[in-house]
Symmetry: C2
Subunit: 336 residues, 2 copies
DNA sequence: TTGAAAGCGATACCAA
DNA sequence: TTGGTATCGCTTTCAA
């Protein structure tokens, strides 16, 4: 592997000149530039990025820490991060922390030891103070998190309140007044926001809040089945069920069918996330879309924009919109 | 950020001693080791991995190049790679090449410039010669590829022939003699192997090979629908359809249902891959499992085993087994 | 505009 | 066992 020194030698110029050519500095005689370029070509020279990073103290890489790439929500988001990063000349190191704070910390330390430019961290479990401290050394973007105003961390969230409200409104518009809700695991900000939005919507609409209409789900297919069974065997069952994710909505849908109910004829089901599976099941699932790819893109955008040449700029917070994707699993309420 | 020099200073020992302590060399006086460790702790010192890599000319990272993490086949494989790599103290850089040779080459070059330890490359599009050349500089594992014996590249493949044969046998055992086949895009080794296996199976069983029973699919949901329509409207339609991936099998299944056919009552459908969706659809899809996670693990295993301290050892090839996962979409043939 | 030289922060060798 | 020093390959400053 040839080095810049080799190039300099063969081209009959100094190391600095080669560096200047390679970095597009214009203080180089055209003739020298040409010579250097020719040698670079001939030797198939490629800069050693490690040396560059050592010298400049920052690589052109960003770390992406997510719970688990196996969760169908994340590949698209990861792709958004990668595409946006690539476009800006950065590459992405993917890390799955399995929602384990220890793993999360360990990855962060490793990313720092690698002198990464920045980190995109989903569902952070570390404390705010820890996050702030990291943001001193590298660009930082949090997703699905809440930080105090003035924080050095950038934050990208999704309008979960709005998503639920839109879904509920959709159901209302189709005449539903008795709407059940399947909660998710109470471990994340977004999950919390979704139930809250459900409650508030009911209140705003002057609809009664029935405790038995809220079922504690676990984000799993089976959790959705259980919820459906519980909700639909009530003496006065809901005519529509809103789930806080697609997987449970699917379970719900399947269980309703198993009970001999027609979806959406007898009961409407509405999901959340808009995963691929929402398109693959029968009936296709009406659901709330989260802009997964765009979340990734936006994250990188903030990352790069607010850390142009080291720290300084305060963080920014972006809230991305949700929307209902109308398909087949929800329709008009029908008297039973 | 403190450096090893700072540690050496505060601990009153030399740089070399600190290095030896940190790298677990035993030629250090226990008392000195303790001193160093104490200072490391106090200063929260962490080795700069970039400097280490520059000096040693190889990082503890491996690159993983896949077509697209958005394709539901890959997340699990990627997870296998990451887990196995982590266990060995390595981290993984994920790259999506979108099946574009140019992107593939560009990523490889970038990985080399970063002095990565090795590369796991899926469905390589570069030439064999190119692959061999890369293997001179870093550990290399190819997946879904064929290399000549004696190659420096390691290869991990899946027993696609066997998978198809097992699926066909399963159908035969249930009395099917008229079996349709939906091909995939002819762009990969595995795709090619699957049709071939289908043909040979028919021959071995003494069953007629009917051209009209082989439909050219495109791996998409819609491709599966079209295939079903074509195959099932034949004057003498097949009683079972084997698809070369799950997505087309799902499309096939849905189209059959739309045509008023019962699956598996009227027609059996069998997929390939065993993606999550195979479990989520109705009826649940009987399919051929590919050991995705294990492929990733095996890849890293070969990578590490055959490149312990630089090149030298020849590559190894591993073929992982497939198996039929019996669910609900395939059953006994029935006279129509 | 260019060249010479000083670092970046580790590892590794050699002498002591 | 330890300390001193050269070195990895680049960027960056400073004089010329």
């Amino acid at each position: 592997m040839p080095t810049m020194k080799d190039v300099a030698l063969k081209a009959g110029v100094s190391l600095g000149t080669v560096s200047n050519v390679l970095n597009g500095k214009d203080s180089v005689l055209p003739e020298n530039r040409a010579k250097v370029l020719r040698v670079v070509e001939r030797l198939k020279f490629r800069s050693n990025l490690v040396a560059r990073t050592l010298r400049t103290k920052s690589s052109k890489d960003i770390g992406l820490i997510i719970p688990n790439i196996n969760n169908p929500f994340y590949p698209e988001l990861a792709r958004g991060v990668e595409d946006a990063a690539n476009k800006a000349g950065f590459t992405v190191l993917l890390c799955n922390d399995d929602r384990d704070v220890r793993k999360e910390r360990s990855y962060i330390k490793s990313l720092m030891a690698k002198k990464m430019y920045g980190i995109v961290l989903l569902k952070p479990q570390i404390s705010r103070a820890e996050a702030e401290e990291i943001a001193l050394n590298m660009a930082m973007v949090l997703m699905d998190a809440r930080m105090p105003a003035g924080s050095a961390c950038n934050v990208v969230n999704v309008d979960d309140r709005g998503g639920i409200v839109k879904g509920m409104r959709f159901l209302r518009r189709h005449g539903h007044a008795k709407i059940g809700f399947i909660k998710g695991l109470a471990d994340s900000l977004s999950s919390h926001d979704r139930v809250k939005a459900y409650r508030e919507f009911l209140k705003d609409e002057g609809l009664p809040l029935r405790r038995e209409y809220i079922f504690p789900g676990d984000y799993s297919l089976n959790g959705g089945c259980k919820a459906a069974r519980a909700l639909l065997t009530l003496s006065d069952p809901p005519t529509a069920i809103a789930s806080s994710n697609d997987l449970m909505a699917l379970g719900c849908l399947k269980e309703a069918q198993r009970m001999g109910l027609d979806v959406p004829g007898d009961v409407s089901v509405i999901g959340y996330d808009n995963l691929d599976l929402a398109n693959f099941c029968t009936p296709r699932l009406t659901t709330i879309n989260q802009p997964k790819y765009e979340m990734g893109v936006k994250g990188v955008e903030l990352l790069l924009r607010n850390f142009p040449h080291g720290p300084g700029l305060p963080g920014e917070v972006a809230v991305l919109p949700t929307e209902v994707v109308e398909r087949e699993s929800a329709g008009p309420a029908r008297a039973r």
